[in-house]
Symmetry: C2
Subunit: 667 residues, 2 copies
């Protein structure tokens, strides 16, 4: 058992389980997950559809337990305002948020077969294959890629490598192209495809010009077909459009947070990678609203000593992946993490992920690089979890600034702002914008309102920069749409004025931790999976009791009718206590039953035999160690109840029950 597991998993193992000592076998894991119906392709009997999966009894119980833990960890423990908003979203809302225009990938088609590729993935895969072929032709042995990241794996579409030597300058050109592949627009990708004669690797056919493909599922609301809707690509917009009501509910004060668990949809061009890239998925999102001038967090002290594995942006831009282990407190103090609130959520999230069983050794916080971040984001960190697919983004923690509330406010003319009454009126020197309203409107037309809002939302320092620039005759201002606008000094004057303020008004900034539940769930399955030393076919899911689909297995060693009645009585008692238990009264051997139990990740097992009828006793088995205890039936049930609730650990159980060294287990 790795170090983290002891945080939440009961154990009295003399020696910790060394999972990494067993080579990870993905084929065996996949077979087991299908056999135990954790998840399966949706409509499998109809042939299925890529990127759509159904969770079976084990998978959905695991998911429900993860979500329950999430709700307790965040919503209840932190007193957040929960929301449940619609999936079907009015197109206007997503037009404002930018999703209608920008939530798209570039795709191109094989001109003959119509096979579809993501343009950037195609270019990358073909050029990488050519570089590899060049190395082969030059007789260069390729280095072993120790940590291949998510994106690379995804893009290797089985493009065949042909050993062809390239000119040195071509190699240099390809390498330069690949380093900035994320930066190209669709037309630029089209040019690359033509220039480098990139064709469909499997047919050799030419490709069409890249066209933009919006990743949202579209539908129509109502019988007229006139109301356009999209299935939401994130739950966040449902929070923002309700901000005014939420603020009122919170007595008009910030900071506070809203939270939502729900399904979102992305019509991926070509989903692969199982649960890690799907078209329909469960998210859990928090939107924490703060004063832009005060991003401290009242409970920061509680997490300041949590150690994070940080991969900051400056390290990455040097082309490195070296991890810095640092406490949240230090990282915020050194301004590596932008502010306390962002740091607080990074710390809390690390605690959550470890609590549900993620291996802390395979967890890192990667900061977004400047060119990768949404234009409005102030800072963004991803919790990446390592699995057989590489390092995968599972939780994103972004400071979305005032972007979303500002754009919705401009579009709907509803004030989405906070007013703070000042204890004392204060006389302040402010920078005030004065517009030549007519000329400004003529020049910027429908963007005029947005630009005015943008300027109104700026803090003094930024406004001072604009003022300084204006003195040169023209200032460049970045709007909430991400574009830059040239404003000349005839249209805008910025002058210091002295005003007496009774109220301070501001648009809150939003810090957003956003969880991909399916990705976390799949990573957890990989991290929990190992095989017993004695028999590699005996695999175990060491899920913490907190999230295990079933907490307790109840079995009998014989098919005797009195014993069968007894285990159903025991099961009934456990159910009444709310313990998710499962009777296995099949005719399988006790060893087979335990093996099945271990694959389901059930932490505890109760077994009755003829002694149970005579003496009223029952044994209790712990999954990871296979060690067993014995005691009176009702005492054992009580111990299981306390183990499941986490009020005692296995050590505590050994103090209540006696050690049992019967011959029932198989090892």
């Amino acid at each position: 058992m790795t170090s983290h597991a002891s945080v939440s998993q009961p154990s009295t193992l003399a020696q910790p389980i060394n999972k990494s000592a067993h080579a990870f076998d993905k084929v065996m894991l996949d077979a087991m997950l299908a056999r135990r119906f954790f998840f399966a392709p949706a409509f499998e009997i109809y042939g299925g559809v890529a990127g759509l999966y159904d969770y079976g009894p084990t998978g959905s119980a695991l998911q429900a337990n993860i979500l329950d833990a999430w709700r307790k960890h965040y919503i209840i423990e932190e007193d957040m305002l929960e929301l449940d908003t619609t999936i079907m979203t009015l197109s206007d809302v997503l037009k404002t948020s930018g999703h209608v225009d920008k939530f798209a990938d570039w795709m191109c088609k094989d001109v003959q077969t119509g096979e579809i590729f993501r343009a950037d993935h195609l270019v990358e895969a073909v050029l990488e294959a050519r570089l590899k072929g060049d190395k082969e032709a030059r007789g260069v042995k390729e280095e072993v890629e120790v940590e291949e990241d998510d994106k690379k794996k995804k893009r290797k579409k089985n493009v065949k490598t042909v050993a062809v030597k390239l000119d040195d300058e071509v190699v240099a050109e390809y390498e330069s192209l690949l380093a900035q592949i994320d930066n190209y627009t669709g037309p630029e990708l089209g040019e690359l495809i033509r220039k480098h004669k990139i064709v469909n690797p499997s047919t050799g056919n030419e490709m069409t010009e890249p066209v933009e493909f919006n990743l949202m599922f579209e539908s129509n609301i109502g019988p007229t077909g006139q109301i356009k809707g999209y299935l939401r690509p994130e739950t966040a917009q449902g929070h923002f459009v309700n901000f005014a009501r939420l603020l009122e509910f919170n007595n008009g004060r910030v900071p506070f947070a809203s939270a939502q668990i729900g399904r979102s949809f992305r019509n991926e061009i070509a989903p692969r990678q199982g649960l890690l890239r799907v078209r329909e998925f469960t998210m859990a999102e928090i939107e924490h609203y703060v004063d832009p001038l005060d991003k401290r967090h009242a409970r920061f002290a509680e997490v300041k000593d949590v150690k994070l594995a940080l991969l900051p942006k400056n390290v990455q831009s040097e082309g490195k992946t070296d991890i810095t282990h640092m406490s949240v407190g230090e990282a915020v103090a050194q301004k590596i993490i932008d502010n306390e609130t962002l740091g607080y959520f990074l710390g809390r999230t690390q605690l959550f992920l470890i609590k549900i069983g993620i291996d802390p050794e395979r967890l890192r916080c990667r900061q977004h690089m400047a060119n990768e971040m949404a234009h409005y984001a102030a800072d963004c960190w991803d919790f990446e979890i390592q699995s057989s697919y590489g390092w995968i983004e599972c939780v994103g923690c972004a400071d979305r600034s005032a972007y979303d509330l500002t754009v919705h406010s401009v579009r709907t003319k509803q004030p989405l702002r906070v007013q703070v009454k000042l204890d004392q009126p204060r006389v302040v020197e402010k920078l005030e914008c004065t517009f030549d309203a007519k000329a400004f409107g003529m020049k910027f037309k429908k963007e005029a309102g947005m630009l005015k809002e943008t300027l109104a939302g700026m803090d003094r320092d930024r406004l001072q920069c604009v003022k300084d620039e204006l003195e040169t005759g023209v200032a460049s201002v970045k709007g909430t749409d991400g574009k830059s606008y040239e404003i000349s000094s005839e249209l805008l004057k910025i002058e210091p004025v002295t005003v007496t303020e009774h109220v301070r008004e501001f648009t809150p900034n939003v810090i957003e931790p956003s969880f991909g539940i399916g990705r976390i769930l799949y990573s957890l399955l990989e991290h929990s999976y190992w095989a017993r030393e004695a028999d590699k076919a005996r695999v175990v899911l060491s899920l913490p009791s907190l999230v295990a689909p079933i907490k307790c297995l109840i079995v009998t060693i014989s098919q005797d009718s009195q014993l069968r009645t007894l285990i159903h009585d025991i099961s009934h008692k456990m159910r009444k206590l709310g313990i998710a238990s499962r009777v296995d009264d099949s005719s399988a051997s006790i060893g087979k039953k335990y093996a099945r139990n271990d694959e389901l990740g059930t932490p505890f097992g109760c077994t009755v035999d003829f002694a149970s009828l005579q003496k009223g006793t029952m044994t209790l088995r712990e999954r990871d160690s296979t060690s067993q205890l014995i005691g009176p039936i009702d005492t054992v049930i009580d111990v299981v109840d306390r183990l499941v609730k986490g009020t005692i650990d296995w050590q505590g159980a050994t103090e209540v029950l006696e050690t049992y060294s019967g011959v029932q287990d198989v090892e």
Copy 2:
């Protein structure tokens, strides 16, 4: 407090609250639900869309608690197999289930304005208005409609009544038409509209011919647009397509049940009625698979004494609504309810609804009449809950027979059947179908396979009937598509044969309890709502602690900083125990805070004052009675924990804490 409330609500009231003594005020309730953000129109700041609602913090916490109670009551307590399947559904699946062809309503448009009506609702509303006008013209005073049902209310679209006397035969014709309004097809409705000169009541314009409008939201999966999908109109099909995996998971045995909680969608033509008719809603569905020859239930004895308020079909077909109060056991014994399993779920569901706070006096089980039931259903009962909208179907309990599994099996050629190995091989006389394969195929073409499956799925008695009919030369067989097929005796022979069986094979029947969570939630809000005798403006939601969004309010009588620190400490302790508590440290008066608390349905309130600092005590208030107790802070926290967990009731709390007669409350 009505009798049911004492089942789950703590109370020491000397006199029960008589909610019905206060006239129900829907306007006040609606205002309160908006003010406390239980729910609100989705995208309200964008003008909203009919039939789409967002749940705010109180509504979504209430919903989460109802779902948690549901999961414990059914999935955990009954060891069901939970599923979480996709919302986006392949069109083929819904083609097979019949939804693509049949899940539709008839609509017609105002030829000028394009205003849209459901054709049947329009005809009904106009004819009813004419009959009413006739009565007025005749000077007949209309009887008071005591119990106006859901459908009628819905269809009264503010059609203006004009006092015009009709001929006696016209009155008779209208009355006859209205009695069978549910039976008309679209073309028939079109004929009625023409014949009776029915126009748009608000414009006087003519209406178009009725056209069918499918109620499913359509979308396309993937970038080619070639894979058609629909948003599921129910979760049930997601269960059925996974039946083979579920059966394997359950070791190949029935009975067992699958269960799913999730969002479903219906693109209603013109949704009104708030949360009761919406385009996106949360359902909880159970599919219980049973041997068609043995619909007994192992736990039937546990519910046989539960009393139901039954409205059987024979009573309704006599035009009456008289309720029969009868135990589940009696109703099944008398064959009023078809079988034990259906009876079991009716009993369990009644227990669930009462547990979460539904008033048992406003709950009835209405059986579907023969013409109203889906053609494949063997028996169907709706739990209807009475609210200001009339009696509304909130839970449907249907015996769907073998319909769904049969049609999916026929379409996909996957065997969705159960095999039971017989202990002893048995020699049985069976009726065997022999087909003239070629002629049968020629005659029935693509329906041939379905008809063979239908015959194969029949029990001996039904097959004997077909055999008897065949002797007349031709037999009429109802297929799984609901249509009748004439099969002649040249194409099919049915003969008794003697076979030795080692295995019995059958397609399980499905009993389906299906819960509309939003409807239950809204009904619960109405049932929990009342106003205090002393002040009608002081309204209360008497939600049981089990489902109340917040369990405990924590307040201080002053803004003293020591007291503020203290309540945050108390809040922290409660959160650690998992109690959803809420601090109100606003400057509002204690009375205002309690009033807000009562509107949120928070059952308990803890108050600290300066005595708390000196003596370490705190008071505890119960919402419904407003009575108060006092004790040491940690003891009070422990009492709250036990009250919330339901291990003690308010009476139990009075045994631990002392009565407090301070002056803090307002009444």
